[in-house]
Amino acid sequence: MLTVTDLSAGYGPVTALDGVSFEAPEGEITAVLGANGAGKTTLLRTISGLVRPTRGTATLAGRDLTKVPTEHMTRIGLGHVPEGRGVITELTVEENLRLGGLGSGSRVRVGDLGRAYSLFPILAERRRSSAHVLSGGERQMLVIARALLAKPRVLLLDEPSLGLAPRIVVQIFELLRTLVRADGLTVVLVEQNARSALSIADRGVVLNLGRLVVADDASALAKDEQLRHAYLGF
């Protein structure tokens, strides 16, 4: 579904991503793992067009993403929940959600919001509140729901577990797995919390200093103790 080929990018003289290639198969969760500074966030930002690649391509169902401006990504089916979640705190919960449905060019039907509210009841409770009163876990649910309103085929998630209590992380990851099974969504999940990520992922990709170390089935990666100790921290 999503194919990354020899993708490289940097910030000025610093090369953050160096010739990374892997595939995220359709309907599966692919975890992108590695230490701080490994290039995981840069990888997602290059795929969604916020950073211009110096080399290589990323294709979604055969379509070259590097030729597409960021504003068009939702239209071709790519959603990206950025690092830090990207909740627009000045807007209400409902306005954040509506925004999610506006970008892909189609009008948000009341039914779409209804589905988001039934999946995430806590958002329904807080729909008229300003988004800044939400807790970390609630915000994560908000941005996932918001991204889903554009009906993406591929969803890029940047460190959803960051700053969240373990119990909430479990909840959110379970939710992700359910969505993937139900909608056939393809997810690329960047995480530093490698253990949790591998527990729900089908595939895993490990980055170090901008380069690909290994790409394999998640279960194989979880069993490889040497790899885990060297790159994944457990």
Binding site: L50, M73, P82, L91, L102, G103
Partner: protein, 292 residues
């Protein structure tokens, strides 16, 4: 009693004029998070365009429409070809650029239209209405001023709260990157914000000019009060801009009438300080501090 009524009515009408300018500032702020110091000269130029048409024999309303139309175009051009290039780096750069535009447009206007004073017509008349055998200080033009500003305020409130475009504009102003990731065409929203703000600015330029004299600096007297009115209301809120304008207009009119007109600038700053001490974000600010 007569003097009090006159003072109040004058203050209200004047206040609406400040409010018109404040609305343009609020619109740019809400849509782009920038304070546009060039708002006044941009409006001044469009008023001159109207004046050229009116002097050539066309009707006032044609000149009115031309001013609003050229405002729309001017706002879009300034955003697309000037502001766009500095905006992404930092907002302060864009603000400084508007200061530069202020100077440039002033000079251009003097070059193109000349600096001499020219009179500008006022629709609906400048005679006060007769109530019994007294003439009250409310003119037809004054009612037109108040009415048009209230209509614009209403339209802006509806735009921002009720429409998808308004939501996209606000999102683009609050967090450009997230808006882009969600598929909002941020560039278009910014251009739209500037174009609409320029139209409102043009309206204020026409209201200030009506019944008075036009020359390149004719709006400068209002600019400061317009800014104060916008800040008083909370730069974020169209209703606040109108409320701020009315309070300011009323207060200054009372000061001018009962204390002395030399104290008016001091009074305006005093009011500003007093309000900001109590409500730092302005009276109607919906966002008091930037929360994360």
């Amino acid at each position: 009693m007569q003097q009090l009524i006159t003072t109040i009515l004058t203050g209200l009408t004047l206040g609406m004029v400040y409010a018109a300018f404040a609305l343009a500032l609020v619109l740019i702020w809400r849509a782009t998070r920038i304070v546009n110091f060039a708002q006044a000269p941009m409006a001044m130029i469009t008023t001159y365009i109207a004046l050229v048409l009116i002097d050539a024999g066309f009707s006032y309303w044609l000149g009115f429409a031309a001013a609003l139309g050229s405002g729309l175009v001017l706002g879009a051009i300034v955003e697309r070809f000037v502001i766009r290039y500095v905006d992404s780096k930092s907002e302060i750069n864009a603000v400084i650029l508007t200061l530069g535009l202020f100077i440039v447009i002033h000079a251009l206007a003097a070059l193109i239209f000349g600096s001499r004073y020219r009179s500008f017509p006022a629709p609906f008349g400048l005679r006060g209405f007769q109530v019994g055998d007294t003439t009250i200080a409310l003119t037809g033009f004054g009612i037109f001023t108040i009415g048009s500003v209230l209509v614009v305020m209403g339209l802006l409130v509806v735009l921002f709260r009720g429409t998808d475009v308004g939501l996209k504009m606000r999102a683009s102003a609050f967090n450009q990157e997230v808006a882009r990731l969600l598929g909002v065409k941020v560039g278009r929203m910014l251009t739209l914000g500037w174009a609409l703000a320029a139209v409102v600015g043009s309206l204020s330029g026409l209201l200030i000019a009506g019944g008075g004299l036009v020359h390149p600096s004719y709006m400068d007297g209002v600019v400061v009060y317009g800014f104060v009115a916008a800040v008083l209301g909370g730069l974020d809120s169209p209703v606040g801009a109108v409320a701020g304008g009315m309070i300011l207009g009323l207060s200054l009119s009372l000061v001018s009438g009962y204390v002395g007109s030399e104290l008016v600038p001091l009074a305006s700053l005093g009011i500003l300080m007093a309000v900001l001490l109590v409500r730092p974000g302005g009276m109607f600010a919906s966002v008091r501090a930037r929360r994360v």
